[in-house]
């Protein structure tokens, strides 16, 4: 009887050891940092295939940038679309369909047909300037006129209009990363493509903490912490790229496509959380242009949540106060008016 007990105990101990080893293997984390999509990308993937996933995600984000979304790389599909009619892949058709829908749902606050407007202002380049009204009118007139021809798999572009997926490329990259990580059964993934972040903890973690950048501070400084169980988080803010004219007027890089001027909705930044990075990226831009009140129906339409930071340093959120903590005293919690 006693011996049987000893054997059972030994078996239990061996099983425990096996569990410890398996847990360690499944908790293997792979990290990587590289430049793509005009930003730094960092990956932290945990799972038994974490290294394979990190490598595949790196390759995929570089492919997305170079072959599909870049408007400056001569090998990309968007470059081809912008430089004469070209047949595009089903992959790009799918993405453009989603973006066209958000353009319509946002009443035109989000639009990708604005590359010519971005170039005209040149914000972030040596050629930054305030264009005259005639130039702005010409650059915005037909920006909503691009259409997808599903039969011939081409994009019809009005004259002078060029597509720029810069506002959503990072979020699209998060979506592709999410698919690879879940196909390879990774239990935890944190993928930051610049300021657009994928947090996926299907396997293990119960909640993630996301710092929202303090708009008037340094880039690594945050003013609020959002606690979420997962999803894609994107921020649009007026602080990252801007220039000042000779009179000290400040012009930032998020344009209202309907006016052709930098959006002026009383906000410093908008952070949006949804299941899809492409959608959270597009909505953060749209909400920045729309302002708080007009953003609400759009957020509901896409089942999204948002955190707005106003010029008065008020933080207004659709999250409950349990999920959002203000960590910087110069910001206060406001309410939706």
């Amino acid at each position: 009887m006693k011996k049987k007990g000893v054997v059972l105990a030994a078996v239990a101990v061996v099983i425990l050891a096996a569990v410890i080893v398996c847990d360690s293997l499944f908790s293997k984390t792979a990290s990587d940092t590289f430049l793509a999509m005009s930003t730094a990308v960092s990956l932290d993937i945990t799972g038994i295939s974490s290294e394979k996933a990190a490598e595949q995600i790196r390759q995929e984000i570089i492919r997305l940038d170079e072959k599909l979304l870049s408007r400056t790389n001569g090998n990309s599909e968007i470059y081809a679309v912008n430089n004469g009619e070209a047949k595009i892949s089903d992959e790009l058709i799918l993405l453009l369909t989603v973006l066209k829908e958000i353009e319509q749902e946002s009443g035109g606050a989000f639009c990708i047909g604005v590359a010519q407007l971005t170039d005209l202002w040149g914000i972030g380049t040596e050629n930054a300037r305030v264009p005259d009204e005639a130039e702005i009118k010409a650059a915005t007139e037909n920006c909503y006129g691009w259409t997808i021809d599903y039969g011939s798999k081409t994009v019809h572009m009005p004259e002078g209009i060029k597509l720029d997926l810069g506002a959503v490329g990072k979020g699209i990259a998060c979506d592709y990363a999410c698919k690879i990580a879940s196909d390879l059964k990774c239990r935890e993934s944190v993928v930051a493509v610049g300021g657009s972040v994928l947090l996926d903890g299907t396997g293990k973690k119960t909640a993630f903490k996301v710092g929202i950048r303090a708009p008037l501070g340094e880039a690594n400084e945050y003013c609020a912490v959002l606690e979420i169980t997962g999803g894609c988080v994107s921020t649009s803010g007026n602080y990252e790229r801007f220039f000042e004219d000779e009179n000290g007027n400040r012009y930032h890089h998020i344009f209202d496509p309907s006016t052709g001027y930098p959006a002026d909705s009383g906000l410093l930044s908008v952070t949006v959380v949804t299941e899809s990075g492409a959608i959270s990226d597009a909505l953060s831009t749209a909400c920045f242009v729309l302002g708080i009140e007009k953003s609400m129906p759009l957020l509901q339409r896409y089942n999204a949540n948002a955190v707005f930071i106003t010029e008065d340093k008020e933080i207004i959120s659709t999250f409950t106060s349990d999920n959002l903590e203000i960590t910087n005293d110069s910001y206060t919690l406001g309410e939706v008016k």
Partner: protein, 125 residues
């Protein structure tokens, strides 16, 4: 009469369990001190253990446009850069594991490996 388990078996089991626990602890909590890893054009240019820095110094990188890092005890930052947007300089000081700053025109990325963990999993901007 055969004993089901001899003392040697028990010792082996104990060693096995301790080994596994040690392996698990090692993989989960391998805490080394913060290291700034500097990449230029995708290649590692230099790794600097930040705890070992006694006096702050500037490090001008062989990149174009020119960029200079300020390396301090426990921190690294871009202090000067000839790029137009200055996003790298505006990023500020990197101190914790995973903190990242990049100068795109110069193709430079600086990331902190190891060291103290950040209170947040990511920062959106």
């Amino acid at each position: 009469m055969n004993k089901l388990l001899k003392p040697i078996d028990l010792i082996l089991i104990a060693v096995l369990v301790l080994g596994c626990a040690g392996f698990s602890l090692y993989t989960k909590h391998s805490t080394k001190s913060a290291t700034a890893v500097i990449y230029i054009d995708g290649e590692i240019y230099q790794k600097t253990a930040l705890e070992a820095v006694e006096k702050p110094y500037e490090l001008t990188l062989p990149c174009s446009p020119k960029a200079t890092l300020l390396i301090e005890n426990g921190a690294v930052s871009f202090c000067k850069a000839d790029c137009t947007d200055k996003v790298c300089v505006n990023t500020g000081r990197l101190t914790k594991r995973g903190d990242t700053a990049a100068c795109l025109p110069a193709k430079v990325v600086v990331v902190i490996e190891n060291g103290e963990k950040n209170e947040v999993d990511a920062i959106v901007y």
